[in-house]
Symmetry: C2
Subunit: 222 residues, 2 copies
């Protein structure tokens, strides 16, 4: 009666999320009935099922599944959960990327927030995002927060988050346009890049310098 | 004025497809104006833009962009295009996976078909899929063809394609259910697995044997 996580992850990676979802239901049912299954594995299985449901745009079911995963995660002894978290720090935190080997609590919260956002439940999405420490925020997380704040007309917070996006990566044109629309000056927007510039030195400067089109487009947007 | 494909691919991988799309438009415009840009690079840029548009669910624009890419691809001398094609044979052919390093003509046709299918234009999607040699079909391609044939009530072709999916991977539950619904017997469905079994020998047999749940679920579906 063995169904492996890898098989489900492979189906998700091939965009066969319908089959992944059905197989994920089998996996979650069998692991929840098995007293030998660790809470860590139960949480991992639930996250995979959540990812399949997300791909199928079954956002409500995905939220419930991710939340169950977080409940199991909370029962894992602290030491092992810390190891898992740090081991995933460099991974993409998009709900479209399946999480196979370890659990990143912040990433799961982000996936829940993304689902709420897809359901136009801004407040619930922001509550979920507030649970992620600001230092742990990735670029997609900052962008989602910016959009949520903007939708809620919290423009000051939205501006801060959009600027954070540009500090991660100057190519997030969406953030540049939003900042211009929110009344931020071109000079102020460009200063976000110069902060990266000061941190990363000449190599990055050369890249920015050759990307004058970016600065021109900022001035045009504002 | 340098925008690199990698920057766009990174944005797509982070699900920042809105920004990827805008940056992709810049990239395509600048490369189409530059007489030094090779047709191969132009095609690659267009595919990246197509992927960003697909993610944004702008299917009509994605179709036009992918078709332009194929036009450039046709102008590439045969030898280099053959190398590109074979170098990508093992890659996932989902439109959700961005294609950075080389061009796979069949994959682009599949992406176009996927867009038509999302627009409920079954016939156009099937025409596109018919351009892919049957030997080059990947699992997601066979599944899309099966669905398209089923929607068009070409049940005999649909059954053949669903069976093809199971020959790729026995875990495509969606295909099992569809075959059962189309009146295929449990014995006939299971025989698809035994074909893989004969090809791959004992190791795969052990896996199948431990997955009796799969055979039980097939019998229940039919």
């Amino acid at each position: 009666m063995e169904i492996s996580k890898d098989q489900i992850a492979t189906l998700i990676d091939h965009d066969l999320s319908n089959s992944a979802q059905m197989l994920g239901c089998f996996l979650v049912s069998s692991s929840s009935l098995n007293p030998e299954t660790s809470p860590h594995l139960k949480a991992e299985n639930l996250i995979l099922l959540g990812d399949a449901l997300f791909r199928e745009r079954e956002f409500r079911r995905a939220i419930n599944t991710y939340k169950q995963a977080l409940q199991y995660y909370k029962t894992i002894p602290k030491q092992s959960s810390t190891v898992s978290r740090s081991s995933l720090s460099g991974r993409s935190s998009s709900p479209n990327s399946s999480n196979i080997s370890a659990i990143n609590e912040n990433e799961v919260k982000f996936k829940i927030a993304w689902c709420y956002s897809a359901l136009n439940e801004n407040k619930a999405a922001l509550v979920e995002m507030d649970g992620i420490p600001s230092k742990a925020r990735t670029l997609p997380m900052s962008l989602l927060m910016a959009k949520l704040y903007r939708n809620s007309r919290h423009n000051r917070f939205a501006i801060a988050c959009y600027k954070e996006c540009l500090r991660h990566c100057p190519y997030v044109i969406e953030a540049i346009i939003a900042l211009a629309e929110l009344g931020v000056t071109a000079k102020d927007i460009i200063s976000c890049f110069s902060q990266i510039l000061n941190r990363s030195g000449r190599a990055f400067y050369d890249q920015i310098d050759s990307n004058r089109w970016l600065q021109v487009s900022i001035r045009r947007s504002s």
